[in-house]
């Protein structure tokens, strides 16, 4: 078991190295001069070429690419991801401020998505008929409605019409716990809808497939009640592919909550990543991509461990 984990971590570290090299090369290959963007405040700008050149020197962008890469690698190894070009704050600090917000959002969305999705999918697979039709129709709709449309509709209904929730924003847990939850709920619900759809659909097909297995027929022939057969022999054995899907979805969601963050003005990591790409804030882009990759890889290792629990054959 320990050697399995060590091996997976070793492979994961190798992957992180590949990712950080690729993102360094990619962001530097994209046209757009960070110094020019910075010196003009995102507008046409009146900055002189001299001032842009000096800014470039200050940011270390005048050094050869190989030197910049080695500096960057040396920093990563020592845990120093550099400082943002825009506000000169350490990237690690910025990420540590934003990451919990995104994790909170993603975890809540995933918990709601996984629980509701598994329940709906299991019900559809178990009862069939109109329940199945209803869940399948809902899943299709949930997956196909874009997040920004759903978010906008939620704001229209729950904020602008009913006035139950703020239209967006953020307040820290320490300042106002109730306000924090109120601001978290709508974006999390928005993100969870598609998640529910994916999980329900995956659970349903897995349940239907597992129900046809020999051991299920055998269990029935033993005289077990249908509900016991379902809960003990069908549902649990259906969960392996569902766990894979949930793991992947969580990883993907960590880096793709940007639309929900934008619509609800929620200060998460994804919106920061997009803004940083737009501003060519190289250290922040690189830092966020590294963190998301590490999390993604860690989640995959965790999913592998869950497999071993769910399916003894994997051990």
């Amino acid at each position: 078991m320990i050697s399995f984990i060590a091996k997976r971590i070793g492979v994961g570290l190798g992957l992180v190295f590949v990712v950080l090299t690729l993102i360094f090369l990619a962001i530097h290959a994209v046209p757009g001069d960070p110094a020019a963007v910075l010196a003009s405040g995102g507008a046409s700008g009146t900055a002189t070429p001299e001032s842009i050149e000096r800014l470039r020197e200050q940011l270390g962008l005048d050094k050869p690419l190989a030197v910049q890469y080695l500096d960057y690698l040396a920093g990563v190894v020592t845990g120093d991801l550099g400082s943002s070009f825009r506000d000169s704050r350490p990237v690690v600090t910025t990420i540590l401020e934003r990451l919990p917000n995104t994790i909170e959002l993603v975890v809540l969305a995933c918990v709601v998505g996984a629980v509701v999705g598994v329940v709906l999918g299991a019900a559809a697979g178990r009862f069939g008929g109109w329940v199945d039709s209803l869940v399948t129709a809902f899943s299709s709709l949930a997956i196909s409605v874009p997040v920004y449309v759903l978010g906008t509709v939620f704001i229209l209904i729950f904020s602008l019409t009913l006035g139950w929730f703020p239209a967006g924003g953020f307040v820290s847990w320490q300042t106002d716990p109730v306000g924090h939850l109120r601001l978290l709920l709508l974006p999390a619900l928005t993100l969870s809808i598609a998640f529910i759809g994916v999980t329900a659909r995956m659970t349903r097909s897995s349940v239907v497939e597992t129900s046809r297995m020999d051991w299920v027929r055998t269990a029935r022939s033993w005289g077990l009640t249908p509900s016991r057969v379902f809960s003990r022999h069908v549902l649990r054995n259906s969960m392996t592919p569902v766990a894979t899907a949930i793991g992947l979805e969580v990883g993907i969601m960590l880096g793709s909550t940007v639309l929900a963050e934008r619509v609800f003005n929620y200060p998460g990591l994804s919106a920061l990543l997009v803004d940083s790409v737009v501003n060519r804030d190289y250290p922040v882009v690189q830092g966020i991509v590294i963190v998301i990759s590490v999390l993604f890889i860690a989640i995959n290792i965790a999913v592998d461990l869950v497999y071993r629990f769910l399916d003894p054959r994997v051990r």
Partner: protein, 527 residues
């Protein structure tokens, strides 16, 4: 086999009580989360003087003199002050300067108010004025007001309250450049390229910086006119998305928003309790690469100026919230305003075709328009221009990368035509010299016409209004046929606020981004 380990029994009274408690707790949580449990405000209580301002982005670190976009101008106007500022009507008023005197158009004397202090309590003297102005005058520091500051030859400080600025040439508008919110007076330790200027002499100070969320400002008791500032604090809450910003105002989460998206004007106009304050401010224009190709020929540029239907741009890109212009905008209140200067061209595709034929392109030609996908109104403007150019035989393909890439292409001349949006640093036509004499990035690439630049310089340095007016009229007249750029529209730049916000005002024309000055006299009234 089914085994029930415990017999079924109805809920005991204790369990029922527990259930009730759980249900009650769940209801209470639900009510709290939906905000229904909050106490109603006491209508007789004086309103809290905290303004929540939904700002269109997070400002960068404040650097002395730097052009940091609209959010930067607003923050500068809140935490800093220069010698001059603008009042709610857009009129120039002394700020840190108690008074000023134009000794001659190349020499200005400023008398500072008594007892000025920065927010950290250190005194603000004429030495700070001198050091700041010389910092702004150094091209390496890239100040937004460099066009005027670079002519400073000397700043005399005969005493702590007097600063006499000597210019190498006359500049009748020098004082107006000092009212630009980036031209604030800073302490000496902020006068370096990597220093962050958070200590200022403005009406507010930064009290709390919640990166990515908001900046909390508190009233600066060291401000020279602190007694007239009513607001105790301003929460600058960052809303980069225009729709989210508008929703925040409509739902009551904020009191005031800037940069109202054009598509939201009608929504806000029909919202009870909200005022939308619009001024036709920045201009959208077409700029050219004049180093080679068809646009090196002024006749082709003139053809473009006649070919574009500005009203289409107003409707398609700005939902009717802009003003079509046919010349470089000059306010009617200006001494230099003439009707002719605002009617250099008209929409006349037939004349445009004649000009093209005269230039040797009777069948038109193919070209590209550089715009950006990052700002929808830039792209929509380009689409309208593209359609109009097709009418006169110019087949233009759009090149629409993100803003950073577009900047790089504009800087290196990797384009033939481009759409740009900008505003003058001052309202008077002196802005044309700053613009046309500025970096290639922000104007037609490779353009330089000594005759026009000489006329603009004569306008700036003229000894009296009449001579300046004659020079500016000549320069603008020459632009009619040389066409260094094609002005299209002055876009409506809007702030929107609750009716409980009083004293705030949008400023006219290019000054719209300095509306932050009026927050010093803004207050919250009872709803």
């Amino acid at each position: 086999m089914l085994h029930r380990t415990e017999p079924w029994r109805p809920s005991s009274p204790g369990a029922r009580r527990n259930k009730r408690a759980i249900v009650a707790a769940a209801l209470a949580t639900g009510l709290a989360l939906t905000g229904c449990a909050s106490a109603a405000p006491d209508p007789s209580a004086a309103p809290e003087q905290t303004l929540r301002f939904g700002l269109s982005g997070e400002p960068q670190d404040v650097k002395v003199g730097a052009d940091q976009g609209s959010t930067g101008y607003t923050l500068d106007a809140l935490i800093h002050r220069g010698l001059m500022a603008y009042d709610a009507d857009g009129a120039l008023v002394p700020a840190l300067a108690e008074s000023f005197e134009e000794i001659d158009p190349a020499t200005y004397s400023f008398t500072l108010r008594e007892g000025l202090e920065f927010s950290d309590g250190t005194p603000l003297t004429s030495a700070n004025v001198k050091n700041t102005l010389l910092f702004l005058a150094d091209p390496e520091n890239g100040a937004r007001t460099l066009a005027a500051m670079r002519n400073i030859t000397e700043v005399e400080t005969p005493d702590d309250r007097t600063a006499i600025v000597h210019l190498s040439e006359n500049n009748a508008d020098f004082v107006a450049y000092l009212a630009d919110s980036t031209a604030f007076i800073a302490p000496d330790d902020a006068l370096s390229a990597d220093a962050i200027a958070t200590v200022g002499a403005g009406p507010f100070v930064i009290e709390q910086d919640d990166a990515g969320v908001q900046l909390v400002l508190a009233r600066n008791d060291a401000y020279y006119d602190a007694d007239s500032v009513t607001l105790d604090s301003i929460d600058l809450v960052f809303y980069p998305d225009g729709t989210a910003r508008t929703n925040a105002l409509v739902s009551g989460d904020v009191d005031l928003i800037d940069y109202v998206p054009w598509e939201q004007f009608s929504t806000l106009e029909s919202t009870d309790g909200v005022t939308i304050d619009v001024q036709n401010g920045l201009l959208m224009d077409i700029e050219f690469n004049v180093t080679d190709g068809p646009f090196a020929d002024p006749l082709v540029r003139e053809a473009v100026a006649y070919a574009v239907n500005r009203d289409s741009v107003v409707d398609a890109a700005f939902f009717g919230n802009a003003k079509a212009i046919y010349g470089p905008p000059i306010p009617e209140s200006s001494d230099y305003y003439t009707e002719e200067s605002q009617e250099l061209w008209e929409y006349d595709p037939e004349h445009a075709k004649e000009l093209l034929a005269e230039a040797g392109y009777p069948d038109g030609f193919s070209t590209t328009i550089l715009t950006t996908s990052q700002y929808v109104f830039h792209q929509d403007t380009a689409l309208t221009v593209q359609a109009d150019l097709a009418e006169i035989g110019i087949d233009a393909e759009l090149d629409s990368p993100d803003w950073a890439t577009r900047m790089e292409k504009a800087t290196s001349g990797d384009f033939q035509m481009k759409i740009n949006g900008w505003g003058g640093i001052v309202s008077e036509p002196a802005y044309l010299e700053s613009y046309l004499g500025g970096p290639d990035l922000a104007k037609s690439f490779g353009w330089n016409d000594p005759e026009i630049m000489a006329a603009l310089a004569a306008g700036r340095t003229g000894a009296d209004v009449d001579s300046r007016k004659a020079a500016y009229s000549e320069a603008i007249d020459l632009m009619g046929t040389n066409v260094p750029f094609v002005p299209l529209v002055q876009r409506g730049q809007a702030f929107a606020y609750k009716d409980t916000v009083t004293g705030f005002s949008n400023l006219p024309g290019f000054l719209t981004f300095f509306a932050g000055y009026t927050l010093a006299s803004t207050s919250i009234s009872a709803g």
